[in-house]
Assembly symmetry: C2
Homo-oligomer: 141 residues x 2
């Protein structure tokens, strides 16, 4: 990737962060660029931290955790809970669901219009539905 393009992405990212009410600090812009620059992906804090390191961005793990949560809060990411051991974050915030491969922990998107959940009962009085998550657990065999 050449320098101009990289800079353009970063300016774009900075604008998105500002729009989300987040100061476009260097760590945040770097992480958000990595996250949102390429196509949709599923990643953990460790994964992102390693990716940042490989890209020459030196950020602490604490900052990665902070950023992931702030981005999620801001609607730039979606957190996916499928495995008790670790938290995944999905750069695809559109309506969709997941296959979860229990053998290797991989997540695969299921387009939102390919799957449907019907007859979700009304939640208890005073409660509102925030989201309906479907996880199709698969394994070899």
């Amino acid at each position: 990737m050449d320098g101009n393009k990289k800079q353009a992405i970063q300016e774009d990212t900075a604008a998105r962060l500002r729009a989300a009410g987040l100061r476009p600090t260097r760590p945040r812009v770097a992480l958000a660029s990595l996250l949102l620059g390429r196509g949709h992906r599923h990643l953990t804090a460790e994964t992102l931290h390693a990716e940042a390191a490989k890209a020459g961005v030196r950020v602490s793990l604490a900052t990665v955790y902070n950023a992931l949560h702030q981005f999620t809060e801001a609607g730039l990411l979606r957190q996916v809970v499928v495995d008790a051991a670790r938290s995944y974050f999905d750069t695809n915030t559109g309506e969709h669901q997941h296959f979860f491969c229990e053998d290797d922990g991989r997540l695969i998107d299921i387009p939102g219009d390919a799957i449907a959940v019907s007859h979700v009962p009304a939640p208890p009085r005073g409660m509102a539905v925030r989201r309906v998550d479907v996880v199709v657990r698969i394994k070899r065999g």
Copy 2:
């Protein structure tokens, strides 16, 4: 609960464990009796450990973890992943789904015949669907 009834439950439980290929040791029979004796419940390792202590059963937390996993493996329990922080176990192994209240971490059953997931795509080649989990995340408001 009188002694005879308690003993009957324990013998019944021992038989279930044996049938599942698990030696009906004292800790396992005690935990399984607590778990399966009353109606369906959702609990964590800590919860069960505390409940055992209250019932006068002294088991280590490691044993509780072992038992929960073995019972799950044996189909006596079902593990529910909704919260990255802790693991829930459900004594209801029948087909059903859950509301998850994000405010207080409570789980509420949704009967299996009340909800339907349609058009689940075929899993990738060589993979088999183990289960389809639906979590309806709700919160106050």
